[in-house]
């Protein structure tokens, strides 16, 4: 059994003259949460698109469960990967229920089986039943992300890719969802790759944190590693910026 669910080796990727990844390597171990941390535009989302085979690397190697990522000819392998994006990626013309069951229906599941699985997931994600028949625009931001999560988990994916899933939510709801989500991942022993720019969130979720800078992994380690032993000055600046101004007005400006 391959220990790494997702593995990138020396991957480079360029989009119209902009070199986004310049030799990125990291592995996301099975059953754990790996966080890709970095400021916006550092290529975090590109990693998820590479994993899904929605784009391919210019050089280097991507392995998903030990195999090359799916392409258009074996798109059904993408069904084994669950994704949640910042906006949820919900289809506006489908109700919450239809969004969640869309894929399984397409695969020919019968109604009782769909219904059972739907119930399991609404329980797990604590999605109110009356929200199921609403359309995405009728749901709150938090409900939308619960729907997106339920959809991503529906087929019991081998890996869950989350791209800034909570960053559009207001702080209170976000805090609650962070707590619920980690409990869910732990209970399922789910392999998760989470992309975020938020150090707090990275600390909360990450067994391992991959700090991205200039298209390479500036540091791979735990939260403590990043805080206590920043590998580069950039990592140090990033950490300090995110720890912020909690010292309050009492602290001097020339820290």
């Amino acid at each position: 059994m391959i220990r790494s669910m997702l593995q990138l080796e020396n991957v480079t990727k360029q989009f119209s003259n902009k070199l986004v990844l310049r030799g990125l390597s990291f592995r996301a171990p099975r059953g754990e949460t790996t966080v890709l941390l970095g400021s916006s535009g550092c290529g975090k989302s590109t990693v998820l698109r590479l994993a899904l085979g929605l784009t391919s690397p210019d050089s280097g190697r991507v392995r998903l469960d030990g195999q090359p990522p799916p392409d258009a000819s074996n798109a059904e392998r993408r069904q084994r990967v669950g994704t949640v994006t910042q906006a949820g990626g919900l289809f506006p013309h489908l109700t919450a229920r239809q969004n969640i069951t869309l894929l399984a229906e397409d695969m020919g599941w019968d109604a009782p089986r769909l219904e059972t699985r739907l119930r399991e997931l609404t329980d797990l994600t604590r999605l109110p039943t009356d929200a199921l028949d609403r359309f995405p625009l009728q749901l709150s931001g938090g409900q939308r992300q619960r729907v997106a999560l339920a959809r991503a988990l529906f087929l019991d994916p081998t890996i869950l890719l989350l791209d800034e899933p909570l960053s559009a939510l207001d702080p209170v709801i976000r805090y609650e969802l962070q707590r619920e989500l980690r409990a869910i991942f732990d209970s399922l022993e789910q392999t998760v790759v989470l992309v975020t720019h938020d150090l707090d969130e990275a600390a909360w979720f990450g067994h391992t944190i991959v700090m991205l800078d200039q298209g390479v992994a500036a540091q791979v380690g735990t939260f403590e590693d990043l805080v206590e032993r920043p590998a580069t000055p950039t990592v140090e600046r990033f950490v300090r910026a995110q720890r912020g101004h909690r010292a309050g007005r009492g602290a001097p400006c020339d820290d």
Binding site: L52, S73, R78, P92, H93, L102, D106
Partner: protein, 518 residues
């Protein structure tokens, strides 16, 4: 690679070919349906006198026990003549001058015998003249004619004090006033330019003394007017004749004999009277024609006048058939072309270009272009309407697909949905509002355009509009225009209802209406 295959399957060449095939098949089938059986097909040019002559021929044939069908006011000279040539119709009335100077002008024929043999080469026969000319003439008040002893145009030369009032075209055309002036050496001061419709009243009120008229003009019989003889034969002769397909001699020899019986029987005076009964007194063409049959041939025919409800019902049926059939094919091919435009940028630019150019072809030109391919009646009208209906639908489909947010497209790929599920459950519903609004625009457009079908005998609401315009009969125009407007509104409402059914309520929400309770 697989992602492109829908584009490949629907490559523009194949679509173009399929399109042609369907059009030709359907056109052919419709032609069969419409021309089923073997009644004698009479047609007429689209003005009162033409329609009357068509009616006279039809009633005569029926009186002799033939099944005859009259496509009243089928179209202009070109439409009628090419329909006769192609065999879509069997008989219509035209004028020798029109044949010699317009239709067969290239041949530079002189005389009726030359004309007859040139027509025979085209499979067309011509009767002897029916008795009257419809050409230009000079007219004066009867009082003036008597006091100044005017009976011929050359008499005008002795009275240069008379004021002339002619239509602008008559003044300008070399074969009208300038030529006339030279031929008769007329030294009057320059004629006043006056619209033909107003000339009679101006003559009557003695503001002018001489006007130009058409010899069978209805109004001549209603004003006290004397027509001056063209004693130097300046004006070309426009003798009315029936044209018929020569194969009619074999198919229905007795029918031809009945038509030939009209040779020399219709005087300018009686034609004027018939025109007046229809144009000035609102009598139907059929009943006026029946009057002539009784008078000249001592043949009594009963003419059934249709009720307003009958006419409305029939025209609604015809109109819906035109719009429905053309819209059906426009939706079928328009959406497919829209998909191709979206999937293949290069073919797409070409398709959008071509479909856009079609839109700029004048509708009448397009209709006339269709006649050699599809004959007259509904098929060419449907083909033309189909072509006109394409652009909004192609555009709507293309825009609808293009406007799907990229993150949703990516989400559908990331989920691992099958291709068909992606098209069916994601792309089509998301593009639906735009596709539907394209179809709606097209449908409303076609309801309006279909009225032009009347120009080539396709019927529908356009028929009373065209006839009404010719007769300056407003109620008759409204009989077509109001139902057409009503139908456009109904179509609009129908699509609003269809939108409620086919567009997901989720797409009709705006962000503002979204609740935000957790």
């Amino acid at each position: 690679m697989r992602r492109l295959s829908i584009g490949r399957r629907l490559s523009s060449r194949r679509i173009g070919f399929g399109l042609l095939l369907v059009l030709v098949t359907v056109g052919g089938w419709l032609t069969d349906v419409v021309h089923g059986g073997d009644p004698i097909q009479v047609a007429s040019k689209k003005f009162t006198e033409g329609a009357l002559l068509g009616e006279i021929a039809t009633l005569t044939l029926r009186a002799h026990g033939h099944e005859a069908f009259h496509r009243s006011r089928l179209g202009g000279t070109t439409v009628c003549f090419s329909s006769l040539e192609s065999g879509a119709i069997d008989v219509y009335a035209d004028y020798t001058g029109t044949l010699l100077r317009e239709l067969l002008a290239d041949l530079e024929l002189v005389g009726l015998d030359a004309l007859r043999s040139a027509l025979a080469d085209r499979g067309i026969g011509m009767t002897e003249p029916l008795g009257f000319d419809n050409t230009y003439a000079m007219a004066v008040r009867r009082g003036t004619a008597e006091s100044k002893k005017l009976s011929r145009i050359s008499d005008l030369a002795d009275h240069p004090e008379l004021k002339l009032g002619f239509g602008p075209e008559f003044i300008a055309r070399q074969d009208c006033w300038p030529g006339l002036r030279q031929k008769y050496v007329l030294e009057h001061s320059a004629p006043i330019s006056i619209q033909h419709e107003l000339a009679y009243s101006a003559l009557d009120s003695e503001e002018i003394d001489v006007i130009e008229v058409y010899t069978t003009d209805a109004k001549i019989s209603r004003f006290d007017i004397t027509i001056l003889e063209d004693d130097r034969s300046f004006f070309p002769r426009y003798q009315a004749v029936y044209l018929y397909r020569l194969d009619l001699t074999k198919r229905h020899p007795e029918a031809l004999a009945a038509l030939i019986a009209w040779e020399g029987k219709i005087s300018a005076q009686s034609m004027r009277e018939l025109n007046a009964r229809v144009e000035l007194e609102g009598e139907s063409e059929a009943s006026a024609a029946a009057g002539l049959l009784a008078e000249v041939m001592q043949t009594r025919v009963t003419v059934e006048e249709s009720t307003l409800a009958d006419r409305l019902l029939r025209r609604t049926g015809e109109h819906l058939f035109l719009v429905g059939t053309s819209l059906f094919f426009a939706v079928l091919f328009g959406t497919m072309l829209g998909v191709v435009c979206f999937r293949r940028a290069r073919s797409g630019a070409l398709i959008l270009g071509v479909v856009g150019v079609i839109q700029t072809i004048p509708s009448l030109a397009l209709l006339v272009l269709m006649i050699p391919l599809l004959g007259i009646d509904a098929p060419p009208a449907i083909a033309a309407l189909f072509l006109y209906g394409l652009l909004p639908i192609v555009r709507g489909t293309y825009d609808g697909l293009r406007q799907i947010p990229p993150d949703l497209v990516e989400a559908s790929h990331a989920l691992g949905l099958s291709r068909s599920a992606r098209h069916r459950r994601i792309e089509l519903p998301l593009a639906m509002p735009s596709i539907l609004s394209g179809v709606k625009v097209s449908a409303v457009l076609l309801v309006g355009f279909a009225t032009l079908g009347a120009f080539i005998g396709a019927g529908g609401y356009g028929a009373p509009i065209l006839t009404g315009i010719d007769l300056q009969n407003t109620p008759m125009i409204l009989e077509g225009a109001l139902p057409a407007a009503g139908l456009a509104i109904i179509v609009q409402l129908g699509f609003a209802a269809l939108e409620r059914v086919t567009v997901s309520p989720g797409l009709r929400l705006t962000a503002a209406s979204a609740s935000s309770s957790e």
